[in-house]
Symmetry: C2
Subunit: 162 residues, 2 copies
């Protein structure tokens, strides 16, 4: 499998997991939290999936397509390791779906970032709230869920807050 | 359609066109020419499609994944507007398949680059040689071809040197 094949597969898995997660949280109240804006592609997808929800976005420095920049009142600017604890008062237990794509190509760095973020992200999820993530996580309060149909194992990950 | 949907569709179209072009040139002798290396994903795909052919790669400054850097003897370093005329002695009429992905997100800049490159690229193709490209081109010696089955129109483009 070429790197082009692999990249397409990962994006397809990401989209399938987000679409599946949207169905899983359909009956839950709560905000959406995008952990990293990047070029804004998945933020744009989340906007389509959740037209009626507030979508908060954490980002260190915005470098997205101008059409994909969230409104300032829902942009949480800065290092997530500092801004997520500060966002707890506003978002603690109020997030129905969070998404982390730490897919930088450096697997060790991705896992290290995820390990730092998980204790900060899990308490933001409401009971039954869903985390969509690459890389995978281990966390006491997060139960792994089966992936969407047709998504190859290990490409993307779904968790529910117990 | 979200930007994530659109991006996935473009990558799927790119791959389908490259795979289709590989079948079209199966009976032709000649090298492969990648016009821009980028992160090396399509170069890696071309390596899989053409294990027996020389694959030349033009790039201004290599910034690809280390696994996806071509050997120095087939890397044509510098601005393509200068290096392609210089490569004519070596590659003129000897390229069975060329690929240009100028998908920078700035459509006007992509078209301008393509317009500059086409008179330099067309003479490198052998008779019957295939150009796979985004953006589209107009050139006297390049005849547009139907896309691979299932590829949405206007996402990627195929030409044959007449």
């Amino acid at each position: 499998m070429s790197r082009l094949d692999s990249f397409i597969r990962r994006l397809e898995a990401q989209r399938a997991c987000l679409d599946h997660a949207a169905r899983l949280v359909a009956g839950l109240d709560g905000a959406v939290l995008e952990l990293g804006l990047g070029n804004g592609r998945t933020y744009d997808h989340l906007r389509e999936l959740f037209p009626g929800r507030d979508i908060y976005v954490c980002e260190k420095k915005v470098a997205a397509h101008p059409d994909c920049v969230p409104p300032p009142e829902r942009l949480i600017l800065g290092d997530m390791r500092e801004t997520l604890p500060a966002a707890h008062a506003r978002l603690g237990g109020r997030v129905a779906l969070a998404h982390l794509d730490a897919g930088t190509g450096d697997a060790a760095a991705n896992h290290a970032l995820a390990a730092e973020l998980m204790p900060l992200v899990a308490p933001l999820l409401c009971a039954g709230g869903i985390l969509v993530s690459d890389p995978p996580f281990g966390h006491d309060e997060l139960e792994p869920l089966p992936l969407a149909d047709g998504v190859p194992l290990g490409r993307y990950h779904l968790y529910r807050r117990v």
